[in-house]
Symmetry: C2
Subunit: 227 residues, 2 copies
DNA sequence: CGTGAGCTTGCAGTCACTGCATTATTCACC
DNA sequence: GGTGAATAATGCAGTGACTGCAAGCTCACG
């Protein structure tokens, strides 16, 4: 009863853009988004300049002119402000494509997840700075990777759907659930590879290239077994 | 390496009763080991009874009759005392066996790592209690899994050795290093599966059975490609 | 023995994070 | 436009993990 926040949780917020707000949302909402962004930028900025470990929440608050309490209302933790929003699930279309796919199942899974993450971000500048911070702070990079595990449950369902779509049942294969779990686990491993390349060793190339490379490697290593 | 004493109370006088078979250590060293164990047991005990999140380091210190400072001298963090020692690298023989192996490379890798962990401690009572604590504390279980990453660097070397032993060179395959990285990443994923089964859903069976199951699944999913 | 190395401890302090009560804003409705 | 009900921002006081430092204590060894 301490890991999860009690009161307010960092809320999703896709409407926050760099400049003017596209959606004519209420003033309240707009202000909120602005504050959030101010804090985020100040934090990333400071972390880049002085190192994540040496800066304090108080510094961030001072730089962004909010109270410490407000900081924690927005981002539950000091990590939270650097890591940003959690990696998203693939959208409807991508999910369907995966389910009906016929390539190496692990490779397909990694490609699908990675594509979802890559497609997500509009704010490239902030993203780059974030990435730099993670490069200098291995502990944070590890946390970021661990986040993929959070959507593991959903992925499991999708993998099972693919199995069924391919005519496999739990009657024919009693441990089909375990097999799906293993696919997800291996997929997480593949993502681990990709994110390590992306965060730690500054991969010089587009994210798409990175994904292609990773999927290619997985297929080579796992032998491209359809499923 | 070898701790098998049953000193369940703080450093009381254990004058002539010490069946120290292997360690012909000095008094100092023995005392140290005893203290360590006392703290460990108290901590695990308390965590089991009240939950990891609700107990404090002070409670542990009180129960094991050491100062807080001493606690942190032994285990740098509150987590540390529950997680115990980090997972070890496979020994010489196991490593060689892996290098010369011809099975699915990811499966072989997971089998080798898992075997090393399983062989590590002759199923102590403490181990079982630890496992229970992790079952009740997902955040800790996650940390434990993340620990495998710590030996990633060494594993990478071993995988490369296997490649070379099989006649593969970086000249024939320019991105051989990346391929090895991917193998390690997928292997970590496989371990993830096994540890999840072991810690979170109390797998009822011997650790060896679990390993066999996991390797079997990996081979099925990845198509048993030799390498 | 006596002395130095290694352990343990108390203490003071930093920092992340939380609950609660209060004040300031914004919204919804009249 | 004014007003009361949300909602957000803040101050404050506290908890708990963790660290550096400066003793004091214990064991090892000549």
């Amino acid at each position: 009863m301490s890991e999860s926040e009690a009161v307010s949780e960092p809320e999703q917020d896709h409407s926050a853009r760099n400049k003017t707000a596209d959606p004519p949302a209420g003033l309240r909402e707009r202000k909120r988004a602005a504050t959030r962004q101010t804090i985020e930028r100040a934090a990333v900025q400071l972390a880049l300049e002085h190192g994540y470990d040496t800066i304090t929440v108080e510094m961030i608050c001072h730089a962004s002119m909010v109270s410490q309490r407000t900081f924690f209302n927005y981002f539950g933790t000091k990590e939270g402000v650097i890591l940003g929003t959690a990696p998203p699930m693939p959208d409807e279309a991508a999910t369907r494509a995966f389910i009906e796919g016929t390539g190496s199942i692990v490779g397909d899974l990694v490609g699908t997840i990675a594509a979802a993450i890559v497609d997500q971000v509009p704010d490239t500048e902030l993203l780059r700075l974030r990435r730099q911070v993670l490069q200098n702070t291995p502990a944070l990079a590890a946390k970021q990777m661990a986040r993929i595990v959070e959507i593991e449950g959903n992925l499991l369902q999708v993998v099972l759907d693919r199995f069924r779509a391919h005519g496999r049942s739990e009657q024919a294969t009693p441990d089909l659930l375990d097999e799906a779990r293993m696919v997800v686990a291996l997929g997480a491993g593949g993502m681990h590879f990709a994110m390590r390349a992306w965060f730690e060793t500054g991969f010089n190339g587009t994210p798409r290239e990175l994904v292609a490379t990773a999927v290619d490697l997985i297929n080579r290593v796992t032998g491209e077994t359809p499923d």
